[in-house]
């Protein structure tokens, strides 16, 4: 009986993952990732130093804010609104586009492996790379900020665990979506940035059903911290905030991931990549 000489998709994806993880971690993009994730940690170190050195601690409007509130504020403003979408855009769009730009896609596609395995392997490498960098960063911020201002680690720990789940869900959804964008569109980075920082904030801010066509709508429903009301935009967000249930959000994010990966895999299998000479 004749057997298919081409390895199965999952086995091939694992090989691509093994190769891509190292490339992704030690690339120039990782420097940007380090700066992006080092920022909140440095801010947390500064806040902790102020709280430890000065008896009055760090004060807002004359009162010392609870460490749990500061941590929630940082999760909302830094991780959910900036870091997670930005990582999704930069890494997700680059999964295939970088190989095309570097003209190395031919080497991958001439191997005896399914083309979608290349995308899947690179997607898993992106996920592991970002998760292994983002979660320790959040963990450090948590242990630096939470014990200030009267809160204890024990009180806030359950929300840290749910934050981890939410961040992994966000990285998965944004990564899959922008991986699809990277396989279909010529200038994926610009489209990705416009989507993450133009379309999403504008639509989430407005009333109506269009917000359901964003990742942020479902992701923000998983956040247990109180949404900060630091600016008129945030206040508008609170007014028009329509929160889907956790189950709905998880199902919606899973659908986004699966659909986007399937569509991206389909595009990679059928598209003819013409390398510029």
């Amino acid at each position: 009986m004749a057997t298919d000489p081409r390895p199965r998709t999952l086995t091939s994806a694992v090989r691509v993952f093994d190769l891509s993880l190292g490339q992704m971690l030690w690339s120039r993009r990782s420097l940007f990732l380090g700066v992006l994730l080092g920022g909140p940690v440095l801010l947390a170190v500064a806040l902790r130093a102020v709280a430890t050195v000065f008896p009055a601690g760090f004060r807002v409007n004359g009162a010392e804010p609870a460490g749990a509130s500061v941590f929630g504020f940082m999760i909302w403003l830094l991780y959910i609104r900036i870091i997670i979408p930005l990582l999704g855009v930069f890494y997700g769009t680059a999964l295939i586009a970088d190989e095309v730009d570097d003209k190395t896609i031919t080497y991958l596609f001439t191997r005896p492996i399914p083309r979608r395995a290349v995308l899947l392997g690179k997607y898993f490498a992106y996920l592991v790379c970002t998760v292994l960098l983002v979660l320790p960063s959040v963990m450090l911020v948590f242990f630096l900020v939470v014990p200030t201002g009267g809160t204890t680690i024990a009180q806030v720990f359950p929300s840290l665990v749910s934050d981890f789940g939410m961040l992994i869900a966000g990285l998965s959804a944004y990564g899959a979506l922008f991986a699809f964008v990277g396989t279909r569109i010529k200038r994926p980075l610009i489209v990705g940035l416009v989507f993450a920082f133009g379309w999403e904030p504008a639509v989430v801010l407005s009333p109506g059903y269009l917000k359901r066509l964003t990742v942020a709508y479902y992701l923000q429903a998983l956040v247990r911290h109180e949404q900060p009301s630091d600016s008129p935009v945030s206040m508008l967000l609170q007014v028009f905030r329509e929160v889907p249930s956790v189950a709905t959000s998880l199902v919606a994010l899973a659908v986004i991931v699966l659909l986007a990966l399937w569509a991206a895999g389909h595009a990679v299998e059928h598209r003819e990549y013409v390398l510029e000479q």
Binding site: D18, G22, L132, L133, F143, T151, T152, I153, P158
Partner: protein, 329 residues
């Protein structure tokens, strides 16, 4: 996977593992506060059980050595009798031995009268042997509670109570009703662990938010649940129905040459805050009229400032040293 990628993955997983492990231990077992972590209020709050109806603090040394206290001491020389009596009974010289005091009170949930539980935590320099001997002379007995030595004494009367004294740490004495002293031991032993059912007041976010607001710039403060206290006070119905809908109250003062402070009431809703604001404003107007030509009273009335926000009313005052001089003379 190259060696440095493998090391990166290991280090990253190690950070996550250690962090999650520490968090789980804190959540299920409880960990003591680290020396580098600082909470609002004095460190003794880690012994205070969570649901205190009243929590108060005084920096005894600052108050005792303040100019205002010296003036009052000269004006009312007989005031040291209580101090001398305390020294005879316990060997504690309030002026030199006690640094600061934290007090808390808990209404008795089973009754509607005011007799509840309470505890005073005093930090300073104490002669433990002398205090224990004096307590034993007054009939106190030594009990062991989970490895902590308690000196327990009973007080007879219409409502017999048991009081206890214990040295939680060198230089930290706790004195109060026996049940609360035992609860304080439990709170400290559990390391403020919510899972053990004995969390400290540090986990009472509502109360600690108020404490954070009072902690800086004041050498004495008190905060309490007004609604809990009034529900346990035997007030006639026509008075209790007229009371404003206050949930929390707080008093903070800085005692030095003069007296500066703020009284604050958190109300149930915006209407209650507005009503309370109007009532106090009326009293202030009346007070200013009554002050007449007495400059000391006039100065004091002028220092009163009414403020607040949507659901709170605050009254701040700043009585300068000259006012006390004028009253004294």
């Amino acid at each position: 996977m190259t060696a440095r990628t493998r090391y990166f993955v290991i280090v990253s997983l190690l950070v996550l593992g250690v962090g999650l492990g520490t968090g789980l231990v804190a959540y299920y077992v409880g960990i003591p506060q680290s020396p580098f972590s600082r909470h609002a209020g004095p460190p003794e709050l880690q012994y205070v059980p969570r649901d205190a109806a009243i929590l108060a603090f005084a920096n005894v040394q600052e108050i005792m050595h303040s100019d205002l206290r010296q003036k009052l001491h000269q004006a009312v020389p007989g005031g040291e009798n209580g101090q001398a009596e305390l020294q005879t009974l316990t060997g504690i010289n309030l002026e030199t031995d006690v640094l600061r005091v934290v007090a808390c009170a808990y209404p008795n949930a089973s009754t509607t009268n005011m007799s509840g539980d309470g505890m005073v935590l005093a930090t300073g320099t104490f002669d433990e042997t002398k205090i224990e001997a004096l307590m034993r002379e007054h009939g106190a007995q030594v009990e062991d509670y989970k490895g902590t030595r308690l000196l327990v004494t009973g007080v007879s009367g219409t409502q017999p109570r048991r009081f206890a004294l214990s040295f939680f740490e060198p230089g930290l004495v706790a004195l109060g009703t026996s049940d609360i002293i035992r609860a304080a031991v439990d709170v400290h032993r559990s390391g403020d662990n919510p899972q053990s059912g004995t969390p400290s007041v540090l986990g009472n976010e509502e109360l600690m938010t108020l404490v954070r607001g009072l902690d800086t710039g004041n050498n004495a403060w008190a905060v309490g649940r007004f609604d809990v206290l009034t529900s346990h006070a035997k007030l006639p119905p026509n008075i209790s129905t007229q009371l404003p809908a206050i949930t929390w109250f707080s008093v903070a003062a800085h005692v030095n040459g003069g007296l500066r402070g703020t009284l604050r009431a958190e109300t149930r809703d915006a209407d209650a805050a507005k009503n309370l604001h109007d009532v106090i404003n009326g009293f202030l107007a009346l007070g200013r009229m009554q002050a007449g030509s007495r400059p000391a009273i006039q100065a004091m009335m002028q220092s009163l400032q009414l403020g607040g926000d949507e659901k709170s009313v605050s009254l701040s005052f700043d009585v300068p040293a000259q006012v006390f001089d004028a009253i004294h003379h």
